[in-house]
């Protein structure tokens, strides 16, 4: 009775499985498909290839799926909370907040000893701090334009501080920070995978609880309250979830743009619905697909070097977002 098409679900699941396998199969080192298969089933002959697949490509593919899904959910939550099709982790300055925190830790000598967990915690705190400012503005000014402007200004503000820190930093630290800023899904080692995956999975498992309040929020806050939703509590939960998702992904993978913005739109489009019971899983799948695809393009076989993930995402994402927003207006499938 929902009247949303069913056929995209199996297609998207097949796509994500194929992209996952492709992501493991291709890379700068050529490994025959049969051997990849053998390694995955645990009988590897070549130790080097086993290492490449299990310690580099497999974690990378898992990070791409989880990171993409996490950003997609963060984007969806932002878009519904602000009732704005352009809201997303990078547009509202959340990524810049996380970037600032990462810059402080990687660029200022005293902080570097904090290590990867320190970076994660700082990035989560940074993105939530920006969200807090944006939300307090949103509370006082009902119109979304001012909220987006504040988000934009906050990201200018944080980039200014980041630039300041960069000008003072040592060369090696600066290089590390710039490479972090390119974005990549390959920075998480097999040992760190848990630190990356557990917070994301905890939040993703919790998000279905938000389906009901998110739907009630679609016609506005007054409507949500009339339906017995505590708007303050829901806002807090959304804020916590978005802060953790954006913070963790940004800490490990850099400020990955466009996936969080495009995936929810693609989900609404595919299923022709804004019902969150459909859009939430749809956005999770689309996020995984986009991230895996971008990651594969970034290290296309034949290229000796891998392209910066962020450039690939922007080149791929910007036209897609423009198309979705234009077409969404026409089909009234926009927030």
């Amino acid at each position: 009775m929902r009247n949303a098409p069913i056929w995209p679900w199996p297609l998207m699941i097949v796509a994500i499985v194929l992209l996952f396998l492709l992501s493991i199969a291709v890379g700068s080192v050529y490994i025959p498909t049969a051997e990849v298969w053998d390694v995955l089933w645990g009988d590897a002959l070549n130790k080097v290839n086993e290492y490449i697949i299990l310690d580099a490509r497999l974690p990378r593919a898992i990070v791409a799926i989880l990171g993409g899904s996490g950003l997609a959910v963060a984007g969806l939550l932002m878009q519904t909370l602000f009732r704005n099709p352009l809201a997303g982790p990078s547009v509202l300055g959340l990524s810049s907040g996380a970037s600032l925190a990462v810059a402080v830790i990687t660029l200022i000598p005293g902080f570097t000893s904090l290590g990867s967990y320190g970076i994660t915690v700082a990035a989560v705190a940074g993105s939530m701090l920006v969200l807090l400012v944006v939300l307090s503005v949103a509370r006082h000014f009902a119109d979304v334009a001012s909220v987006l402007i504040v988000g934009l200004m906050l990201s200018f503000f944080t980039s200014a501080i980041v630039g300041f820190l960069q000008s003072l930093a040592e060369e090696s630290a600066l290089k590390a920070f710039i490479f972090w800023g390119f974005g990549t899904f390959s920075n998480v080692s097999r040992g760190q995978l848990w630190a990356f995956a557990i917070p994301l999975l905890v939040v993703l498992v919790f998000t279905p609880v938000l389906i009901k309040p998110l739907n009630a929020l679609l016609p506005g806050e007054l409507h949500a309250r009339s339906m017995g939703v505590s708007v303050g509590r829901t806002r807090f939960q959304i804020m916590l979830a978005t802060g953790v998702l954006t913070g963790v992904v940004t800490a490990f993978c850099g400020p990955v743009a466009f996936i969080g913005l495009a995936a929810p739109h693609l989900a609404r489009f595919t299923f022709r619905s804004m019902h969150h019971a459909i859009v939430l899983p749809g956005a999770i799948l689309w996020g995984g697909i986009l991230a895996l695809a971008a990651d594969i393009i970034a290290r296309l076989p034949g290229l000796q070097l891998s392209l910066p993930l962020n450039s690939v995402c922007a080149l791929m994402g910007a036209p897609v977002v423009v198309y979705l927003i234009m077409a969404g207006r026409k089909r009234k499938m926009l927030l």
């Binding site: 506005g220 339906m227 939703v229 499938m333």
Partner: protein, 261 residues
């Protein structure tokens, strides 16, 4: 039995010098099966009063009771069991089917954690769609509805909620005359057949005097009149509301009478 009551309600906005009193010492008690209209000039506080009755705005003074329980004693999540509301501030959500929209009324009361529907919910939804004449629209996108159809879909959502109190803020605003009449007729039937207590605000005096059981007329400076349509039509506040002595409402058939010299 009194389903909806409010006692000693005062509503004021602003602070200090700029403090503006909309309403003071307002009392109302409505029985099950009453269709009540709130009328008055723009800015006298019709919507504020409705929001207070809906528990969406805290009055400066006074207490609202639903089913003899004071509102602060009813937790937020239980409120949809008592009351369904439709306000002008609710914006249209285009990317849903009518069925999805109406099912939101069920998920507010069926206790599901993730917003799922139980078999019994489908019965409620189908009944609500039938009562509002929206059954054929069930699978349509809300985006493709006319204003009147959308209003009916929202009404179906409120009905699916199956709560005894229904509050509507200017439900006939964008509707043409036949649609307004149809909507009012439906509200009247709901009050009679389903024993709903319905309160709505409107500017449509013609409809009010023909359809409502109880009329609340809000005047300036917190004055108000409450009673049957005949009583309110004859009330001295009515002249103030109509702003002139040349227009009056005739006693017999409650039509406007314009006296020309």
């Amino acid at each position: 039995m009194i389903v909806l009551s409010a006692s000693d309600i005062a509503i004021s906005y602003g602070k200090g010098e700029e403090k503006h009193h909309l309403l003071g010492d307002f009392n109302i008690a409505l029985e099950a099966g009453t269709l009540c209209a709130i009328i008055g000039a723009n800015g006298v506080g019709k919507s504020s009063l409705l929001r207070v009755l809906a528990g969406l705005q805290t009055p400066t003074l006074g207490q609202v009771h639903w089913n003899a329980q004071p509102l602060p004693n009813i937790v937020l999540s239980r409120r949809p069991h008592h009351m369904a509301a439709l306000f002008r501030e609710f914006s249209r959500v285009d990317g849903l089917t009518v069925y999805d929209l109406v099912s939101m009324g069920r998920t507010a009361v069926n206790g599901s954690l993730f917003g799922g529907l139980y078999p019994a919910d489908n019965l409620h939804i189908n009944k609500a769609l039938e009562l509002t004449g929206m059954s054929v629209f069930a699978k349509r996108q809300v985006a493709n509805l006319s204003d009147g159809e959308f209003q009916k879909a929202m009404l179906a959502k409120m009905l699916a909620q199956n709560s005894p109190i229904m509050l509507l803020d200017e439900p006939t605003t964008h509707l043409d005359l036949p649609s307004s009449l149809e909507l009012m007729h439906l509200l009247r039937r709901l009050a009679r057949d389903e024993q709903k207590t319905i309160v709505f605000t409107t500017h449509d005096l013609h409809l009010v005097f023909k359809m409502a059981h109880t009329v609340v007329l809000l005047g300036s400076e917190g004055k108000y009149a409450i009673g049957s349509p005949e009583e309110v039509a004859a009330h001295s506040l009515m002249c103030g509301f109509l702003r002139t002595d040349e227009i009056a409402i005739t006693e017999g058939n409650l039509q406007f009478k314009i006296s020309e010299e």
